[in-house]
């Protein structure tokens, strides 16, 4: 296997795992409310920007990350309360949340540009530097990529365990299937929805920090196309499926990196959307989307 192919593959898997994180975050709010936070990308950017800002004030980098995640989590609850809920409550079943969540994302992007500047700023090294690598079978493997991959996979596993093994995870699943029945059974649906937006924003924040770590810089526009790639991953894997999010993320990551390496980096994003169109035409329920189980 030649070095170039191998390094592209590893980069693809690492960013793919991060796309999977974004897709999981999108899935989570989709489960509880059938809405997606299209401002997710701005939360990724903001979390990375805040990390840069807080650590530049002299705080330890880990504290900076934790603090930024807390702020982003609070913003997630704000988004639910003030952009999603009013849109859902007005004239039942409207699609207003698409515009309101996207609009709030653009607002955050503008605020970031105003206060942090619109130039790209260097993202500090969290654990390893870009020069650290290990050698496996004669291949150089960047430790940063490995850390990103490990964190993303660990989070996906933890998330999956939470949904499958805990009562609250089951309750989230129940709300996705029949919110009214969940209410009548005493499941605090409102709190679950709020929690899902909070957790979804944290996943976005972590994804933002991880991507910024790989890329080395962050700017206010960062995150916008990333969330679209996360969306492609979610649809490709099957909206609402965690396994699908992981598979879709890896697929999008690896294919776009390979195309970027062998064809042109300009085609990297284009190929992802070509994949999306192909998936919607051939298998609209996604790779792991399940048909309804029911009997009259």
């Amino acid at each position: 296997m030649d070095d170039f192919f191998f390094s592209l593959l590893l980069a693809g898997i690492s960013v793919g795992a991060v796309y999977a994180l974004i897709a999981l975050g999108l899935n989570l709010t989709f489960w509880t409310t059938k809405t997606l936070n299209f401002g997710q990308g701005s939360l990724m950017m903001l979390c990375a920007m805040l990390t840069v800002f807080i650590s530049s004030q002299g705080l330890a980098i880990t504290l900076a990350v934790v603090g930024s995640l807390a702020i982003v989590a609070a913003l997630g609850m704000f988004i639910e309360r003030w952009t999603v809920r009013p849109a859902l409550e007005s004239s039942g079943g409207s699609m207003g949340w698409v515009v309101s969540t996207l609009g709030f994302g653009i607002f955050l992007q503008g605020m970031a540009a105003k206060y942090f500047g619109s130039q790209a700023v260097a993202f500090p090294d969290v654990v390893f530097t870009a020069q650290d690598f290990v050698t496996v079978f004669g291949q150089y493997i960047s430790l940063q990529y490995l850390v990103v991959l490990a964190v993303a996979v660990a989070l996906i596993l933890a998330f999956e365990l939470f949904i499958r093994r805990t009562v609250w995870g089951q309750a989230v699943h129940a709300v996705s299937l029949d919110p009214e029945l969940a209410l009548v059974q005493g499941i605090p649906v409102r709190r679950l929805i709020l929690g899902s937006f909070m957790l979804s924003s944290i996943l976005a924040g972590v994804a933002g920090v991880l991507i910024a770590q790989i890329g080395g810089t962050v700017d206010p526009a960062f995150g916008f196309d990333l969330v679209l790639l996360g969306f492609v991953a979610a649809v490709l894997g099957g909206m609402g499926s965690s396994l699908g999010a992981l598979a879709g993320g890896l697929l999008v990551g690896v294919i776009s990196k390979l195309v970027g390496g062998y064809v042109s980096t300009a085609a990297e994003h284009g190929i992802a959307f070509a994949l999306l169109m192909l998936a919607l035409a051939v298998r609209p329920q996604g790779l792991f989307g399940r048909p309804e189980v029911s009997k009259a």
Binding site: Q170, L181, L183, V184
Partner: protein
């Protein structure tokens, strides 16, 4: 004691319930009768908190719960088996039961509660790992009843438990409901289109027509009156 005072439920311009009052004491079954669209389901939905109440009050043991959200009412002991065999169809039988137990009163351990359900309806144990949506109608109704009783409710609302079931299954279901009502001593309200069936086991009954009470009284009285004209007339 479950009490409704001058309760009105409107869905936009549709007046589903108009000034309905009811007192249901624990230890007996109350039958809510009426044709399709008479307001039976709206009455139950108003009690569990998912219908738009525009006037009147719902009281549980004297406490006004009209403004409480549904989960808070569920915590006060309201259990509602909704019409249309509502279950989490993609979840397994046991997951449905576990979920219902988790957010219920939890008076017993989960294992003990499950054992009780399975002893009553052995078929549910056989199908424990099957998706609820794949059960037969009768088995689904057994599961729905079990999901409400496993929560140890104090106010049990059953919306058309006989709908679309074979007569022999209906008998079994009603046998269970009567036993449970007698043993637990809680408030049980059943909405039924099959008047005779429900009245036979009920202490009191009430007939709704286009959202208003047209007839109310002791179960046996209403049942005896059926040979005459009153009960039949109130359906027309």
């Amino acid at each position: 004691m479950l009490e409704l005072r001058d309760l009105s439920v409107h869905y936009g311009a549709v007046r589903a319930l108009e000034g309905v009052s009811l007192q249901a004491a624990p230890g007996g079954i109350t039958a809510i009768l009426g044709a399709n669209g008479a307001g039976k389901s709206s009455l139950m939905r108003a009690v569990s908190g998912i219908a738009p109440v525009v006037a009147g009050q719902v009281l549980l043991d004297g406490q006004d719960i009209t403004a409480l959200p549904p989960p808070a009412r569920a915590r006060l002991g309201v259990a509602h088996a909704m019409e249309g065999r509502r279950l989490f169809r993609q979840l397994t039988v046991e997951d449905n039961l576990r979920l219902a137990w988790s957010f219920g009163a939890r008076r017993e351990k989960l294992a003990a509660s499950l054992a009780e359900v399975y002893a009553r309806f052995p078929i549910l144990e056989t199908k424990a790992r099957t998706a609820a949506g794949l059960l037969s109608g009768g088995q689904q109704q057994m599961l729905i009843l079990s999901c409400t009783t496993i929560r140890n409710p104090r106010f049990l609302l059953l919306d058309e438990p006989s709908l679309g079931l074979a007569p022999i299954i209906v008998q079994q279901i009603y046998g269970f409901i009567t036993d449970y009502a007698a043993k637990s001593g809680i408030v049980v309200i059943i909405a039924e289109q099959m008047a005779a069936l429900a009245l036979k086991v009920s202490r009191q009954g009430m007939v709704l027509r286009r959202g208003r009470v047209v007839l109310a009284g002791a179960g046996e009285e209403l049942l005896r009156g059926q040979d005459g004209t009153t009960l039949a007339a109130s359906y027309l």
